[in-house]
């Protein structure tokens, strides 16, 4: 009985930790994703050029304002 109680207490402690934890993508995986994002899409850094490309292809333009660079520190 005592053992069961202790196991339950340990499990509930673990559950509390899990609830408090934020799902995190570890550095290696995040670096891979950043690489894929930076190289898998043709990123424009000049708005006029991006708009010209949009006019040529008939596609709207997604233009992102961000602190930092898409393949660097953000």
């Amino acid at each position: 009985m005592k053992q069961l109680f202790l196991s339950l207490a340990a499990l509930s402690l673990l559950a509390v930790q899990q609830v408090g934890a934020i799902p995190m993508v570890k550095g290696d995986e995040a670096a891979y994703r950043v690489r894929e994002l930076a190289t898998g899409i043709d990123w424009h850094t000049n708005l006029s050029q991006a708009l010209n490309e949009g006019a040529r292809s008939g596609k709207p333009v997604v233009w992102i304002h961000m602190l930092g660079k898409i393949d660097g520190a953000t």
């Binding site: 550095g27 990123w43 708005l47 992102i64 602190l67």
Partner: protein, 272 residues
């Protein structure tokens, strides 16, 4: 992180011309901890960090279809990008008058907000520190507050906001966009549009323990980027970091000269 996740990544790649601009140093930019590409990444709530990141959907003539302030969940981002595409169809319609287009724009923003799933609305809860910032600085005037009496509760220590006190960020975004139908990008008032919550936003992705809690000491030492001088607390922190770095440099110099005087002599003596 949401841009690199599916479905956002493929949707962006297949349906849009994509570009970005580094807003570090621009007057409306916020402040964030420096996050290296090899660092950890975490998900956050929709609309968090509105001063640090803005995603525009533009027609090729430079007219703004929509603008998402802050970070958005990958799925929710796609949902809003689709609205941008639908608005682009309206904007490109040769048979509609400008007035008709504006009416349609407002109606579509409103309809889209009403169509958000309960999950999306849950993901769009404004961050607690942003709610506090709004309640503390503009309790009676903020367009993010639905009920000022209820919103004032967050100013009490440890108190959570009652339901109906604050708008969710998806509502803030659509309400603000409704007031800006088909505005040219260079006339879009980005400062007012992104103005909610505090300018400093940081998830401390690399300053967390294995269980996900923030290590406060590491977090304090993290370098900052953005408009650091615009934020009194952050400027103080940047000066403190600079002093630490200089002190570290002096220590290294002292150690280096000591090594030069003693260590190398000892090493040379030992070699003999």
């Amino acid at each position: 992180m949401s841009l690199s996740q599916e479905p956002a990544f493929s949707y962006l790649k297949n349906n849009f011309v994509v570009g970005y601009k580094d807003i570090t140093g621009l007057p409306y930019a916020g402040v964030s901890g420096v996050h290296m590409p090899t660092g950890n990444a975490v998900n956050t709530t929709n609309g968090a960090g509105p001063h640090n990141l803005q995603t525009f959907v533009l027609a090729p003539d430079g007219t703004v279809m929509t603008c998402l302030p802050g970070y958005w969940n990958s799925q929710d981002l796609v949902c809003e990008l689709q609205l941008g595409q639908d608005l682009y169809k309206v904007w490109s319609d040769r048979y509609m008058s400008r007035q008709e287009k504006d009416v349609r724009f407002r109606a579509m923003q409103q309809q889209h907000l009403r169509s958000h799933s309960p999950q999306m609305i849950r993901r769009s809860k404004m961050q607690g520190f942003d709610q506090k910032y709004e309640a503390k600085n503009r309790l009676q005037t903020s367009d993010c507050i639905l009920d000022s009496r209820l919103a004032s509760v967050v100013l009490q220590k440890g108190a959570k906001p009652p339901v109906g006190a604050f708008k969710t960020t998806d509502q803030i975004m659509h309400d603000r966009m409704m007031a800006r139908p088909f505005v040219p990008y260079d006339q879009f008032d980005i400062v007012a549009y992104t103005d909610y919550g505090r300018p400093f936003y940081n998830k401390n992705e690399d300053q967390r323990t294995a269980s996900g809690e923030v290590n406060k000491e590491l977090a304090k030492a993290q370098p900052l980027m953005g408009n650091v001088n615009e934020m009194p607390g952050a400027a103080k922190r940047a000066r403190r970091q600079q002093r630490r770095q200089m002190a570290g440099g002096r220590m290294m110099n002292r150690a280096g000269s000591y090594m030069a005087r003693r260590g190398i002599q000892t090493f040379v003596r030992a070699m003999r």
